[in-house]
């Protein structure tokens, strides 16, 4: 819990106390423990827990695979097939099936981290801290550049990344820098920012209405406001469930798209 949240109780409307608007300080945590100058905080713990959940689930699900899947295996197969049929196949086709483990790991890791934002008592999506999406985007970046260089050779790959297909030669000096810049630098940045900003905004939105429900709660007309705010909190939580899944989906879809772009011979 951050300091601001702890100082919340007792602050209500008409008691001469202003609305304690949630701020960026809600995204900073006191370290759980420190080793030298290294501070271990709640988001790190949540990221590790999320990785552990994904690992454990898929290990349990496919430990003793049966022809007719039951229980956890059924659920695990549904997850894997979803990633394969909705994300991988439309981008990469059948030959891309070797990237399935990578995409499945990314999808479920990101999704579980996002979902932590609405789990009671956990209440924080680690992906709203930029380091986590940035590290993931870096892994994706290294992956698609390596795959591109492997399938086309370093020079061939960079030539293709710099020279846009279909453009007439006289405009190339103007467009080639954009193509290269956008393929090499902008891609990992947009991947990071999109996920981080969505989770940060969603968490702030829930905080605004969650705190408002408590702040407006008093034996007066405020009760009506508080109810409205509370209902909105519930509706927005539903919206968040959607966005959390959607952002994990988009992150993975774009990863698949970048890999496809790196392996395709002609655009």
């Amino acid at each position: 819990m951050s300091d601001v949240a702890v100082s919340m109780p007792g602050c209500h409307i008409f008691s001469g106390c202003g609305y304690p608007a949630p701020s960026i300080s809600y995204f900073y945590f006191k370290p759980i423990f420190t080793i030298g100058s290294f501070q271990f905080t709640k988001p790190m713990l949540l990221a590790i827990v999320s990785a552990a959940i994904v690992l454990t689930f898929f290990f349990v699900a496919f430990r003793k695979p049966k022809i007719v899947p039951r229980g956890a295996q059924n659920l695990g197969e549904m997850g894997v097939l979803f990633v394969r049929d909705q994300i991988l196949r439309p981008q990469l086709g059948k030959k891309g099936d070797k990237y399935l483990p990578f995409l499945v790991s990314i999808f479920f890791f990101v999704w579980i981290m996002n979902v932590f934002g609405i789990i009671p008592l956990v209440d924080f999506p680690p992906t709203s801290r930029i380091a986590f999406p940035a590290a993931l985007a870096f892994i994706v970046w290294v992956t698609y550049i390596t795959i591109g260089m492997k399938s086309k050779g370093p020079i061939g790959y960079f030539r293709e990344m710099a020279i846009p297909q279909g453009a007439p030669w006289w405009i190339l000096p103007l467009l080639a820098p954009i193509e290269l810049f956008s393929n090499v630098l902008v891609r990992p940045f947009t991947l990071t920012i999109r996920l981080m900003a969505n989770m940060l905004a969603g968490h702030l939105l829930l905080l605004v209405f969650g705190l408002a429900s408590w702040y407006l709660f008093s034996a007066s007309i405020g009760l009506l406001y508080a109810t409205t705010s509370f209902v909105l909190t519930i509706i927005l939580t539903g919206l968040e469930v959607l966005i959390q899944a959607l952002q994990a989906f988009i992150f993975t879809t774009l990863t698949a798209f970048y890999i496809a772009d790196a392996t395709e011979t002609a655009h």
């Binding site: 049929d85 909705q86 994300i87 196949r89 439309p90 981008q91 990469l92 086709g93 059948k94 030959k95 846009p164 297909q165 279909g166 453009a167 007439p168 405009i171 103007l174 467009l175 820098p177 954009i178 193509e179 810049f181 956008s182 393929n183 630098l185 902008v186 891609r187 940045f189 947009t190 959607l246 989906f249 988009i250 879809t253 774009l254 698949a256 798209f257 496809a260 772009d261 395709e264 655009h267």
Partner: protein
């Protein structure tokens, strides 16, 4: 989100079928062209503006970058 792409499991073997429309994720790639064009040529414009003492070259560079990025997207989409 994959609307327009081949249906679930119906993807052609050996890669994307060129006769099919691109998956919607190409739309996301367009975003990186637009940002890339504006940032890159905006920076070039800003540099030249600082060098020549003409600060309005910064927005001009951004607009030029945006225009080139749109041209780039059009070339990439209309090809084939």
């Amino acid at each position: 989100m994959t609307g327009g792409g081949p249906g679930p499991g119906g993807a052609p073997p050996g890669g994307r079928d060129p006769s099919q429309p691109r998956p919607a994720s190409f739309g996301w790639a367009i975003l990186s062209y637009l940002i890339g064009g504006m940032v890159l040529y905006g920076f070039v414009g800003w540099l030249i503006g600082r060098w020549t003492g003409l600060p309005w070259l910064f927005p001009v560079g951004m607009l030029a970058g945006l225009a080139s990025a749109i041209a780039l997207v059009i070339f990439r989409v209309t090809k084939s």
